[in-house]
Amino acid sequence: MDSWVVAMMLGASLFLGGIALIAFLWGIKTGQFDDAKRMMNQVQFDDEKELNDASDQQKKREALKKKEYRPE
């Protein structure tokens, strides 16, 4: 076996592992692991309603930025 095969395999796996590590670090930095108790229960709050709610909040935020926001 040529040694470049070993080199390539090592390189590829370290690269993939590195991507996973960076994703994990991003998760920590953006606070996704801050609330351990909530994280464990997250599956209960993961349906369509939650998505709608999240998008509503997003709209409110955008509306505020554009200063067009008026309460009904």
Binding site: S3, V6, A7, L10, G11, L14, G17, L21, F24, L25, I28, K29, F33, D34, D35, A36, K37, R38, N41, Q44, F45, K49, D53, D56, Q57, K60, R61, L64, K65, K67, Y69, P71, E72
Partner: protein, 797 residues
Amino acid sequence: MSNVKCDHCHLVFSDSVMIHDEDLRFCCNGCKGIYHLLKDEGLESFYTKMGETTLTPPILQFEASENFDSPAFYERFVTLGEENTAQISLIIEGIHCAACVWLNEKALHKMPGVIEAHINYTNNKARLVWDVTILKLSSIIEMIRSIGYNAYPYDASMQEVRANKQRKEYYLRMAVAAFASMNMMWIAVAQYAGYFTGMTQEIKTILNIAEWVLATPALFYSGWVFYRGAYYGLRNGAVTMDMLVVTGSTLAYFYSIYITVFEKGEAYFDSVAMIITFVLLGKFLEVLSRKHAADTLDVMGKYIPSEVSILDGDTIRSVSVSQVNVGDTIIIRTGERAAIDGEVISGEGSFDESNLTGEADPIFKRKGDVIISGTTSIDALLHYRALKDYAHSTLSHLVNLLENAMRQKPKIEQLANRLSEYFSSTILFLAIGTFWVWYFWPHTFDRALMVGISVIIIACPCALALATPVATIVGLALGAKRSILFKSAAQIETMAKATMFVLDKTGTITKGRPAVVYATYHAAYDRSVLLALVNSSKHPISLGIVEYLEKTEPAIQTGGISEVNEIPARGLVGRVGGVMIAGGNALLMADMGIETQILSDKSLFYYAVDGKLCATFELQDLPKDNAFESIKILKEYGLQVVMLTGDHAASALRVANAVGIDEVHAHVTAQEKADFIARAHDEGHIVVMAGDGVNDLLALARADIGIAMGNGSDIAIEVSDIVLLNDSLVSLTEAYAISRRTYSLIKQNLGISLVYNAITIPLAMMGYIIPLIAALSMSFSSLLVVGNSMRSRWMYK
């Protein structure tokens, strides 16, 4: 009559007392209101999400929410942002389950103007951003209250922000180090396989380069904390453990680069990553278990009412506490907490002073008596004149004292820290010595350098760094199993060295509530009616009677009764059919023309039916079960046990005799308690203080170890280092036993790693250590330390 569940809070009550609403059942109007509100808002899926959890029924009295809109409040708690937004940090009370978090967030999101509402389930803290042009803060707070929770603001202080940042930083560094060393392991497998079976230099170099790539972030990113620690250590003229880690790993790293580039010998990259990972793991565990004073003072905020009602001519005005002047007339109602010290002008009623003075029995106040801020009115409605302004009142004075006390808390240096300093300088000295000896005893430079480095690597501080954290984690787990919560791992060691236990009386040694000790019956009566009567009141005496009735007659049912009235400072009066029933103290009986003759130093409760005395109950605050045995055990350990109480001497001595405590100090104030502890500390004692009330706060903060009872006040729990969740004194002795055991485990672990070094270092100095043995010995010494700790865990069930 069967018992049914309330459809909102899921607490179980007898069907007869429930509010019927078609086929729904509610325990109170609060629950009913919330249930319908959630239905109307389309949030009823809350109930499927919450499952079998039970909630606390909502409290209907809150302080007025307009106060949240005052400019003074804004200045203190609210940060204004861009585009008319404002931000506040709140602590939400009453969160029991993930569904509660969901409900609060949904309800807030539904309000127009709320830009962001995020609640942390772990610590119940919420961050709220809203648009000030659309919404007032008071409406937000009212929304939270209307769905059955309560919210109070806290100062998200700099200290807390910093602590969180540090925790996160360690997470990141730990993740990188763990990633690097775990990947290093499988490359190392190839290295060692090749070492025994033979492999070409080319493959070896490829493996070395891969390890180099992994070791670099581990050393310079994850290991940065050690460089920083070593630098600050040197500036203070101390050789620290960090210094040893830094020299060992940096030298090994550059040496390995040299090996890789010139293709000779074996590289040590794996050792570099391993050392950093293991020692960082020890530090990481320490950072996670560190307690921060910041959280403590947040909870204190709740104890201070922010506004009071004052009588201005004929009108009643609500003003902020800081605006009250000496001489103003203040109105205090049932259930309110006094914010200002003063003297009663008119009205009467009883006050609960237990959290300030330690006296368990309610104190009756009338004209001329002094009101102390921080005490709660049980049934009093009265007017009093302010004697001091807010800043000089007992309660706010206490907050200032507490801040000082927490700063003065003694720190006892940990054994491992002291040891590692000597250890580090010795090893560095030996390594340099070895290098010079080898160099002048003619050997090549790199041979001498390699032997010198191998001394540092073999002296690998892994085992030493792990010795304390692993042992304390075992101690924490042992405690958790017995409902003992050690809040800060480092305190276990201090606890083990304790020489004096100071105990509070009310709530710590005693049960903290009056219990019936003696009952006399004068005539036959229906006990179920008496139960119904006392059940309608939350007064401590009534609760004591309920407990007694249910204990002596477990099958007792609540009887039918109508028109119950609670007469302040007297008792309860009700009606069954046409017959008048009354239960209360001698004053009530005198009002009704019933003669009572019994004299007693205990609290008395009389029960009369139709103007005829039927029964007399004597109530007293009793010591907890096993109190005597527990204190005996503490004394057998050779500890000095002292009782401090704000209560009067007679009842203090009675309790002390019952539980076997010789040294008693009665009539001490909160400040005197703290002084007592400071004095004992100066005399060379290491003091453990156990207490539960606001009057113990200063002492708890001041003691080497503060222990709070699980049902004590929140603030006492916050200030303390150890919490006994089951309130039992047996747990107190167990906490001490576990600490002693953990401390001896720490000493064993340190011993193991030192003995290990004593064997391997001479070998390394003689140049017998090859890379394989170095790596094996490193893992083996760490395994020994972990294994020894696990052994202790299995043995001490």
